[in-house]
Symmetry: C2
Amino acid sequence: MKDSIARVADRSRREFLQTAMLAAGASIVSLPALARQTDKKLGVALVGLGSLSTNQIAPALQKTEHCRLAAIVTGTPAKAKAWSEKYSIAEKNIYNYGSFDRVADNPEIDVVYVVLPNSMHAEYTIRAARANKHVLCEKPMANSAKDCEAMIAACQKANRKLAIGYRLHFEPHNLEAKRLGQEKVLGKLRAIEAGFGFVIGDPTQWRLKKALAGGGALMDVGIYALQGARYVSGEEPIEVVAVETKTDPVKFKEVDETIYFTLRFPSGLLANCGTSYNAGFNRLWAGAEKGWFELSPAYSYGGIKGRMSGDKTISLPQVDQFAAELDDFALCIKNNKPSGVSGEEGLRDLRIIEAIYQSIASGKAVRLKAGG
Amino acid sequence: MKDSIARVADRSRREFLQTAMLAAGASIVSLPALARQTDKKLGVALVGLGSLSTNQIAPALQKTEHCRLAAIVTGTPAKAKAWSEKYSIAEKNIYNYGSFDRVADNPEIDVVYVVLPNSMHAEYTIRAARANKHVLCEKPMANSAKDCEAMIAACQKANRKLAIGYRLHFEPHNLEAKRLGQEKVLGKLRAIEAGFGFVIGDPTQWRLKKALAGGGALMDVGIYALQGARYVSGEEPIEVVAVETKTDPVKFKEVDETIYFTLRFPSGLLANCGTSYNAGFNRLWAGAEKGWFELSPAYSYGGIKGRMSGDKTISLPQVDQFAAELDDFALCIKNNKPSGVSGEEGLRDLRIIEAIYQSIASGKAVRLKAGG
């Protein structure tokens, strides 16, 4: 929705500029250059060719209006071969983790999309910024708020844009939930409940290793519930209280399995949130003065469904969330506009996540600085 | 369901006894006496004629198999008149709070049903026990665990039965949720979510006055979420963590408005629960190894609906929960069997509720003694 609105806005702006320049008698010669600049698809280098890149992001890149898959970065030669054949990627646009910094010399690459295990987000974001590339980094932004700060600083220093892969900011039902909450369509909010959990498979995967993942369910999917609570309320939490359990202490030896956490917002509103790697739930609910609304499933790649009090459904188009996210970032770059899912937004979540882990460890409520 | 099972069991037992006695050549003379004893409807004195008595309990008493409305206790002469006319209650069976203790001399009264504001539960339960009557007391059992202990002691001393008005223990969908959870029908439980809240009306009512209600939403409806978590898990919590807010600090000056609390059970299971007097929600959900089940609404007087993973519905008969609760208590008395919703059960909840308030006040996790 935001994406299509952005597209329309971009088109209008272009038409306005062309008309304005013609009216002003500007040289006709400059028009193709302007059009080329605006219409050029930004080249994206995909770093890390795991399941998310394979099944979601690469297909999404085939649908984007403003991006194209220009390069890949992988440590696995077999993947390099398969991808280069499937997506016609030239040999010179294939990198491994050793050669990655040479993306600096490749003018076909505008954006580096970091889709690596969480522990590697900071390093590759910073290296990409040093290579003078804009960076789109998957969530969670990093394993610590400190790393997030270093990533932001690196991108600022290089004067490059940084955005986090918060795909639901471009999903129509979630945008509608945000609108219903922030614009108080049903009156003042009185409670939010948000939970995202699933039963994780392969016990050997990187997501269950502390060194690679930083944390477990909270870092991976609890962050969506946290995001939901934040964008529906439009507020930043001032206090968190959290409880953790491991119903399977063997499988989840290194990372958190199931966490419930409550956020207190400045208005007095509470958001009660949950996450799990061992139980499935997928819900964003808010109660307000004049009714309630709910998305369930709320956070999936597709098939989002919404309901409201008064026996209403929230039924909006299902979009390719990754394509919308990529196009939004491309337009932010092209138009030099700030991203709504900036590094600062990723940092806010990591600060809250650290407070949640702190509350679990201490068994106490943890205060947060207002404004995250 | 339990009720109808209990009825069948009772009938079978009676038939078995009659057959056995006849077979043993027992005196025929004893049969009518036995039948009279077993078939007699127990006389119930209803104490407090507010909305619950008027709209739910009195109509339920017209449907019970083993109880009848024998007497009323009210401080309002107009109510005494209206009720005596509507339900043909003799003058001698109408009491006020001053004359209440004289129920001791009334053989038509077997059971006193206490439906007063929470702060009066202990006093009237103890006075009823001293008058040698069995007592059914509405939830929450009392305003403190200490009061609950005194109520149990008074009934034990008088050798009278005490049960708490936990109507959902006699509601088929809730019984099915209990079975699904406790018998691990979908495997080991991995998470429970339970919440009951509604937007309370009249700001002058007793439920919003601390002295009468003891507490707010938690005492009144949060107790259903607490109960749900306990009967679905079949476990007693060993720790609680709770957070409170008042989105309307004026209306909820004296009592709690919105509370989220998490219970930790000995198995490691967490139950995440919520309650509110200012937001509507009504849900009991459990996730297990092989799926999930949910009741929503879960706690209403009627219209309970259930769903399960695999696109299944849980659709069972809707019963008059108060009639079922009353008949169960009558059969416990007639057959001298323990009630499943005994005073001890009410006391367990009050101990947990006190720990929840303690966690809110301290901002810390509060440990509970194992076994409540």
